[in-house]
Symmetry: C2
Subunit: 206 residues, 2 copies
Amino acid sequence: MLRDLALPELLAAFSSPDPAPGGGSAAALSSAIGASLLMMVASLPKTRTSSAEDRTALEAAAGALAGIRERLTAAIDEDTAAYDGVVAAYRLSKGTSDEQAARKAAIQRALRAATDVPLEVMKQSARALEEATVVAAHGYKSASSDVGVAVAMLMAGITGANLNVEVNLEGIGDPVYRGAVEGEARDLKERVAAIAQTATDLLRVR
Amino acid sequence: MLRDLALPELLAAFSSPDPAPGGGSAAALSSAIGASLLMMVASLPKTRTSSAEDRTALEAAAGALAGIRERLTAAIDEDTAAYDGVVAAYRLSKGTSDEQAARKAAIQRALRAATDVPLEVMKQSARALEEATVVAAHGYKSASSDVGVAVAMLMAGITGANLNVEVNLEGIGDPVYRGAVEGEARDLKERVAAIAQTATDLLRVR
């Protein structure tokens, strides 16, 4: 499991000529780090105005972010497993017409799984960005740069996950599934651009 | 050392209420992962056109990226050490006027170190982005999404490191140092925006 590796081994896994782990796992990791930085700022003893309202908002955000990070961390390994599933399906025997049909169906199932994982990473990253606006509004002002880095890494996670959604979707035949995923990914991208702007604006308020 | 931690412990370190490790270390890590993905694509057995020119270009890129990643990985811990140095300087005794002068000088030295580390992360990330254009031009077409994720994570690393340069520069009195760093950071940001666009355009070429 990638999540059990120490950092040098993890980086070596990403740089090895093996295609997996690849960009999909890296995108999930980018967002998991972004969520972690937000949890840190939400847990600092100091808040923006030292008000009870700040503390209540930040505690709720920290709780939500812990769940989001858990999902993103799981997706690091899930993406690699899904990629391995696609490779395995392409390697199935295609001697008889029955085998060809079975292989084709297996490839479609595997590609859907490899699309669903980065789509979930996009969704969880968008949820984390919404919490970033709470942390930016109520968190300790001196930690603004940490929130800014978190926003940048969540946006990179979303961009990266979206590239993986697109590349896997290319091989999927079912137009209904394709249309649904394309629409969802487009909506998520539009929404997060607006949320990231809101968070960044809040960080600028002195 | 952060680089010796397994992933769950590393994420826990980023999310703990301790301010360090914070956004500066996360930004260096983002770029180290981006450089790793580029190394993977540069080392794949397949290249864009299977030409000797592709292989030569990719081997040179992989070599350069290995050195860049080493610097970025070192910066993950260096940024946390530099932050700890700033905290330690602020905690120095300020009873006598001699102590006050010594403390002020120590804070200035510590803030410079805490500025130099993210500035170096920006420089190394910009170098990695330049290699990304080589990998995008000569690398295996099917790995385009991995190059795209790498570019997004390097840009997040640069944005994040730049936020840390700015926040530490605020406390530095020396106008010559400030001016030099501000100019360098501005030039880097302009240059990387153009390089990232070039890489992204190359990825779109079929």
